[in-house]
């Protein structure tokens, strides 16, 4: 197992460098550079000013040299400097990462637990009205644009009912500390996390349902019934465990992706996370920051992939031993 993890980490590191290089080249292939955007915003888009800016950011050097400098920095743990915000990129990202992780992981847990639970329930009542109801409800959340659900949730629970705060990470200027602060953050977390979670829930629900139904047709389930086992034990021990294998794969893919992918939710709820940071960086052509965000989200995807593979080995002996 240790060997497996080390081997995978080495592969992941190589892959990460390749991703960085590709991102770097792609970004530079896009028209417009930060100097032009900054000059434009400053209302002084004359050639000389732009040239000076370029020189300052090192954008006048050949692309390959720029890449070399950048990768060299990353290898030493330096993600570069955001000229727009005048702060090191790493500071910006690690300032925002906890908020994003809190939001996406809560949403992820909600999606996964509710999704599998709903999937199990639906599969046990396949064809009946409760199955139809669960399937339709889950699909509804998936089909409705996320920002709209978010806005409606704010309208109902914050504006009309005034149960929960409408936006932000915590109550600004409240001066809460310790447990009070945690409670405050938790209250702010409810709406964005549930909105995001319900959206992804549909996928887990569909997958769990389909997988449960498929596994319940397999021969070993018949064997279990022939033993005289109770249906509840068969469902839990024989069907559910086997049905979870594809769900684990999907969850691993999605967990990593979620870190970089909560842009919409973070924007609607003014959640100070990576998603919004990325969105801003994109608008401002803040190359270093953008690359930094991509780097972190790519690293997260790889990390969760690794966790998935480890989990898979724990759950499935065929992969562990063979």
């Amino acid at each position: 197992m240790v060997r497996f993890i080390i081997s995978r980490l080495i592969k992941a590191a190589i892959l990460l460098l390749a991703i960085l290089t590709l991102n770097f080249l792609l970004i530079h292939a896009a028209p417009g550079d930060p100097a032009a955007v900054m000059a434009g915003e400053a209302g002084a888009a004359d050639e000389e000013f732009i040239r000076q800016l370029r020189e300052r950011f090192g954008l006048d050097k050949p692309l390959i040299t720029q890449l070399g400098i950048y990768l060299g920095g990353v290898l030493q743990g330096d993600l570069g400097f955001s000229y727009r915000q005048q702060v090191p990129v790493a500071d910006l990202i690690f300032d925002r990462l906890p908020a994003t992780l809190l939001l996406t992981m809560t949403a992820f847990v909600i999606a996964l637990t509710l999704g599998t639970l709903a999937g199990v329930l639906a599969s046990a009542r396949v064809g009946k009205w409760s199955d139809t109801f669960i399937s339709t409800a889950a699909l509804l959340f998936y089909a409705t644009p996320l920002f709209w659900v978010a806005l409606m949730a704010v309208l109902v629970f914050s504006v009309h009912l005034n149960w929960l705060p409408a936006f932000g990470f915590e109550t600004v200027g409240s001066g809460y500390t310790g447990f009070d602060r945690a409670l405050d953050v938790a209250r702010h977390l409810v709406l964005p996390a549930v909105t995001l979670g319900l959206f992804f829930m549909a996928v887990y629900m569909r997958m769990t349902r389909a997988s449960m139904l498929e596994v319940s047709q397999l021969d070993f389930v018949k064997t279990a019934r022939a033993k005289g086992l109770k249906n509840s034990i068969i469902q839990r021990r024989h069907i559910f465990r086997n049905a979870m294998l594809p769900v684990v794969t999907l969850a691993g893919l999605q967990a990593g992706q979620l870190v970089g992918g909560a842009v919409l939710t973070e924007t609607v709820f003014a959640w100070p996370g990576i998603g919004r940071l990325m969105f801003e960086a994109l608008q401002q052509r803040d190359y270093n920051l953008l690359l930094g965000v991509f780097f972190v989200s790519a690293a997260m995807v790889l990390l969760f992939n690794l966790i998935t593979d480890i989990l898979y080995r724990v759950v499935d002996p065929r992969i562990r031993v063979a």
Binding site: S7, D219, A224, R225, A226, G228, L229, R318
Partner: protein, 555 residues
């Protein structure tokens, strides 16, 4: 005082027959609406008697498995019993509550299934799966359950039972898994054992061992066994009594000798006649020039392995050489994993051989690449085992048959014209051209598969287990068709099969493969009548029903 008559009556009753362990009376099982017939099982009655093995024989769809599942209360949801009784002791299973029925499963009767590969939960250790039987009925402590599991594994003859108990199913061979299933079935010492095609998925030598085991355990424990099979060889090997089923009805029932030696019903006669005889004719050697010459063919598979761990290397094809004469049928027989299919796949270049020569009419195909391979490979075509999976379900038959010729430059009209000729050639109506594969039966689909192989007018055909998935009567028809086509079109055929009976019937020469090597190669007659290699002998001895057939031939 007892009268002599009463005593005599009692005595004769004792010798006549024990009380049945189960009695099936006028059982009727309905199929869902829209099925090809209303009743899966139609007025079926039989007794299961302690110490006796009742074989229920029939082809697919005859209702034999349905009867078994009804006894266990394991019928699919849409299928339900609509009449009759299944009496076990004094209880009618069909009228019991779910809970009562569940309690009888495993305890009063147990079942083993066809596919040992899929009948065990892949994520649970063997011991845990056996222990579950006790758990289901609230018996023993967890510790005792595990101990019993090891005892049972010992009893069914698994090597290193302690180790096997800790293993996961995928770590065991097919035969060992079936032994685990049997151990599980025996756990609560049921009086009735239901075996649904328990050896069909196994190799012939493993099959012989499992049949022995079932026989042995059944005698030792005085169980009533209901043994479902499609294979009359297996019937001859294991049955005390036989019931033959067709379209949901029992058409004939009797002692094994009566049914096999003096079948009364036409259907039984037809089935028995369709079994390939286990004797190869002495055929004249084919003196023609070789069309295919294989020399020193090798293929290895590498599994697992990564940056750090060394993978496993399997030598699937190990230095295989043979020649195939024009118009000859060469059989390649062997058990699963012997490498016979890998040889076939190397010949048509679905696999790339590691080394060796595959000369087709003087041209070496072994390493040919790209456009040249594309052009040449039409000369050697393959018929696959599974007629369900080998035809694209979204393509009409016409397209399936003309795709190949069109890829080789034949105009569409001509290709479709040829396709309808081919359909007639393989005994199908030309109107089949506009239909989809799912509209045909298994046998018909295999005819389409044959037509497809013929469409490119190949010189050599590789038939990989081409009749293994078919019922015996359909199998006989397809074999006849192949023989007929071969004679008419002067084809050379490589016939890959695990079934020695089929090989005996169709092959001029036979190559016996074991672990990637050809251990014996010679005329079919010699292979069956004077096998040189010990492995060949063990294969032939393991063929079910062989002794009975030999006795019938000599006597």
């Amino acid at each position: 005082m007892h009268s002599i008559r009463a005593l005599r009556a009692r005595a004769s009753k004792g010798t006549m027959m024990a009380t049945p362990a189960a009695r099936i009376e006028h059982l009727k099982i309905a199929l869902p609406e829209g099925a090809d017939r209303a009743l899966a099982v139609d007025d079926v009655s039989f007794d299961l008697v302690p110490g006796e093995i009742l074989c229920i024989v029939g082809e697919s769809g005859s209702g034999k498995s349905m009867s078994a599942n009804a006894m266990m209360g394991l019928l699919p949801d849409l299928v339900r019993p609509v009449g009759g009784r299944i009496l076990v002791g004094d209880k009618d299973i069909l009228t019991l509550s779910d809970k009562e029925r569940r309690d009888m499963r495993g305890r009063a009767m147990a079942m083993i299934f066809q596919e040992p590969m899929s009948a065990l939960n892949p994520l649970m250790k063997v011991a845990d799966q056996i222990a579950e039987v006790y758990e289901a009925h609230g018996l023993l402590t967890p510790r005792e359950r595990k101990d019993r599991a090891v005892q049972l594994l010992t009893e069914v003859g698994i090597p290193e039972p302690e180790k096997a108990a800790r293993a996961y199913p995928f770590q065991l061979s097919g035969g060992q898994r079936q032994r685990v299933m049997i151990a599980m079935a025996l756990a609560l010492e049921p009086k009735i054992l239901i075996a649904d095609e328990p050896t069909t998925a196994l190799d012939v030598t493993t099959q012989a061992q499992i049949l022995d085991l079932i026989r042995h355990l059944q005698r030792e424990r005085d169980m009533a066994v209901m043994f479902i099979t499609h294979d009359f060889g297996v019937v001859a090997e294991i049955a005390d009594r036989v019931a033959v089923m067709q379209f949901g009805k029992i058409v004939e029932e009797g002692s094994v000798d009566d049914v096999l030696d003096h079948p009364q019903h036409d259907y039984t006669r037809k089935l028995i006649a369709a079994i390939p005889r286990l004797s190869a004719d002495r055929r004249a050697a084919i003196e023609k020039a070789p069309i295919l010459a294989v020399e020193g063919l090798n293929k290895t598979y590498h599994t697992g392995g990564s940056m750090f761990a060394k993978g496993r290397v399997v030598h699937a094809v190990n230095d295989v050489s043979f020649v195939l004469a024009d118009g000859e049928t060469l059989g390649i027989v062997g058990e699963s994993g012997s490498g016979k299919s890998s040889v076939g796949r190397c010949l048509v270049r679905l696999l790339d051989p590691d080394s060796g020569v595959v000369k087709l009419g003087g041209v070496d195909m072994a390493y040919m690449k790209g456009e040249e391979l594309r052009r040449e490979r039409k000369r050697i075509q393959m018929i696959f085992q599974d007629p369900y999976a080998s035809l694209n379900p979204r393509s009409r038959v016409g397209r399936i048959l003309s795709e190949g010729p069109m890829a080789h430059g034949k105009p569409k009209d001509e290709a479709y014209q040829r396709a309808s000729e081919l359909l007639e050639l393989v005994g199908l109506d030309a109107s089949a051209i506009d239909r989809y594969p799912h509209e045909f039966s298994g046998g018909q689909r295999q005819r389409i598969g044959i037509a497809r192989a013929l469409a490119l007018e190949p010189e050599v055909i590789i038939a990989d287990e081409a009749v293994s998935a078919l019922d015996v009567s359909i199998q006989a028809q397809v074999l006849d068709l192949l023989a007929d086509l071969k004679a008419r079109l002067n084809l050379a055929l490589v016939f890959i099969t695990h079934d020695l009976r089929v090989a005996a019937q169709v092959c001029d020469r036979i190559a016996v493969m074991q672990k990637g090597r050809i251990v014996e190669l010679g005329p079919a007659y010699d292979i069956f009548n004077d096998p040189r290699d010990a492995y060949t002998r063990s294969l032939i001895e393991a063929i079910p029903g062989r002794e009975k057939e030999l006795a019938a031939m000599t006597g």
